[in-house]
């Protein structure tokens, strides 16, 4: 468990970095491609399910104040279980960050660097990550709290700059064309 604490604002910024980037940049496109006219309804359904799960996790974590999942696994199953959960966690982070890095670098290569070897692009990110990890953890969340407001401001700027291209009529029908078959049939 980390000995250093971070402030509330920095913690919120850290979470927003992950949430905002994914939610604003990639999620809307994926949802629209998959759910088409019933996107709003499906966001509502998924949102409710996510809130229920989040509440469940919150209630369970309330019994272990100040502990993270590694500490809880040690409490439940001893050092052996803690090691298993730790390995699963590390594997999850390694695999998901590798996939994320490769995906992002592929996109960059297609758009901006078609002649560049992808490993060169990946190497740049790896060097930056190594330097950031070499520094104290507080440097990362402080830098994040500087960058994120700028990123949010730029997203808002882009939104308002393109507002004349929005067609409000495209929201309708709000609940989609076939409300009840949303659970069974996506292709329409």
């Amino acid at each position: 468990m980390l000995k250093s604490k971070i402030g509330n604002l920095e913690a919120i910024m850290l979470i927003l970095t992950i949430v905002v980037v994914h939610t604003i940049l990639s999620l809307p496109t994926d949802i629209l491609k998959t759910y088409k006219s019933s996107s709003l309804l499906n966001i509502l359904y998924v949102g409710i399910i996510a809130i229920i799960f989040a509440y469940l996790i919150f209630k369970l974590f309330k019994n272990f104040p100040g502990c993270d999942i590694i500490d809880i696994s040690e409490y439940i199953g001893g050092k052996g279980f803690k090691n298993i959960v730790g390995v699963i966690f590390i594997s999850y982070f390694i695999i998901s960050s590798s996939i994320l890095l490769r995906n992002f670098c592929e996109t960059l290569k297609i758009i901006y660097y078609p002649m560049t070897n992808i490993y060169f692009i990946i190497a740049l990110f790896v060097i930056a990550v190594c330097v950031a990890n070499h520094l104290d953890f507080s440097a990362t969340f402080k830098a994040n709290s500087i960058f994120l407001p700028l990123a949010l401001a730029s997203i808002l700027f882009l939104f308002f700059a393109n507002i004349n291209k929005f067609v409000p009529q495209k929201i309708f029908p709000i609940l989609g064309e076939r409300i009840f078959s949303n659970f069974c049939d996506r292709d329409y």
């Binding site: 930056a128 330097v131 440097a139 709290s145």
Partner: protein, 397 residues
């Protein structure tokens, strides 16, 4: 012996001892106006080489018994006199103790300048970022004393060192408080822009012309292409050639005898730039980029910080050439992470923005003078308030 050495000896009737008083006046430079920190509306006095004159300049401004000036010697051979100045009912005693601890634990033969002391007392020398502020102005030193900082004066150098220093200190000038708040904040915004231009403009130019031409308007793109048509060198060589030439002209201007110095600078810049364009070695737009970068670098108030930005713009030029905006973005991320990791005498270098805390009017932008009620919370001073809530009592009587 005292009399032989030219001292004055004072005998007092009924006392069994005499006082040996040093009254010798060595030849020294008189108090003059500052060379490097020029202001329009503020005082025009600067520190000199003599430590006693410098401490007296501060004492004349702070007429308070709480201004403490402690003397110590550094250097086994030179025994250079240093004065640690602080206001005891304001400054955090832990800060004072830390400063004195570091000064008293320097095992060096000699200390010849404040610049050497600066390098000996800072926490780290990462990226060459200055972590203490140097000033030749007694009014600036006093302003920081009243904010709870410690000022160290070294005999033989017309500079005082202010510690701790945070990032915003290097982009502020003593002129800002002398002007109306709107003008002061306008100048601060301008300096922030100048820092951005000094560090990033050449790199962004290289990145845009090499990788991201699509973001330029078509007419501007045609102008750039037309100006670069006859240039035989790649953009990176062109920009490095001009940036290094500019630095050479700047450095040569310091060394040339003063009657000729400014002329050489102007001739060098104009003739070299114009000749290079006429010969087709560089493009006209590049000359403009280099010139704007150079002018912006002169707008940075602190010499050390300006040097640091000038030095690191070459890194961003290389990153922009290698990987365009991606390289510059990653470089900027690493750079800001390193800035955030630095601490100057226990104070985070990027205070009060990272970690985010209430600056109470001590951030980068100045509040109106009647609202500057508090000292910076990150200094943890003994006396947090600088003025009453209603400081202009004459208005409400």
């Amino acid at each position: 012996m005292a009399l032989i050495h030219g001292n004055c000896v004072l005998f007092v009737d009924t006392l069994a001892l005499a006082f040996d008083i040093e009254v010798k006046g060595f030849m020294q430079r008189s108090v003059d106006s500052p060379n490097n920190e020029i202001v329009i509306k503020g005082p025009h006095e600067a520190f000199v080489e003599n430590i006693r004159t410098n401490t007296s300049l501060i004492r004349r401004i702070v007429n308070n018994e709480n201004l403490i000036i402690e003397n110590l010697e550094i250097g086994k051979i030179t025994k250079t006199k240093c004065a640690v100045c602080y206001i005891q009912n304001i400054t955090n005693p832990d800060l004072v103790n830390e400063v004195k601890y570091r000064l008293n634990n320097l095992e060096v033969d000699s200390l010849l300048s404040a610049g050497e002391l600066e390098q000996l007392v800072v926490d780290s020398n990462i990226l060459g970022i200055p972590q203490v502020l140097s000033t030749e102005r007694p009014d600036k030193a006093t302003r920081y004393l009243l904010r709870g900082r410690v000022v160290v004066i070294v005999n033989g150098t017309p500079y005082g060192i202010i510690m701790p220093a945070i990032l915003v200190d290097f982009l502020t000038s003593s002129e800002d408080s002398n002007l109306k708040v709107e003008f002061g904040n306008f100048l601060r915004g301008l300096r922030m822009l100048a820092a951005f231009i000094t560090l990033l403009l050449p790199g962004l130019y290289v990145a845009i012309t090499s990788f991201h031409q699509e973001i330029l308007p078509t007419s501007l793109l045609y102008s750039i292409l037309a100006s670069r048509e006859s240039v035989p060198f790649p953009i990176i060589l062109e920009i490095l050639l001009m940036e290094i030439s500019f630095e050479l002209i700047r450095e040569a201007g310091l060394r040339v005898p003063s009657p000729v110095g400014p002329t050489i600078g102007i001739v060098g810049a104009l003739v070299l730039g114009q000749a290079a364009v006429s010969a087709g070695i560089v493009s006209q737009i590049l000359i403009i980029v280099v010139a704007i970068t150079g002018i912006a670098s002169f707008a940075i108030p602190d010499f050390s910080f300006g040097f640091h930005l000038r030095y690191f713009r070459f890194l961003f030029i290389l990153l922009g050439f290698m990987a365009g905006f991606l390289g510059i973005g990653l470089g900027l991320f690493v750079y800001i992470s390193i800035l955030c990791s630095i601490k100057s005498f226990g104070v985070s270098f990027t205070s009060p923005y990272a970690p985010a805390s209430s600056s109470k009017g001590n951030g980068y932008l100045l509040p109106p003078i009647w609202k500057r009620e508090y000292r910076a919370p990150f200094m943890d001073t003994k006396r947090p308030k600088t003025q009453e809530k209603i400081s202009m009592k004459w208005k409400y009587k």
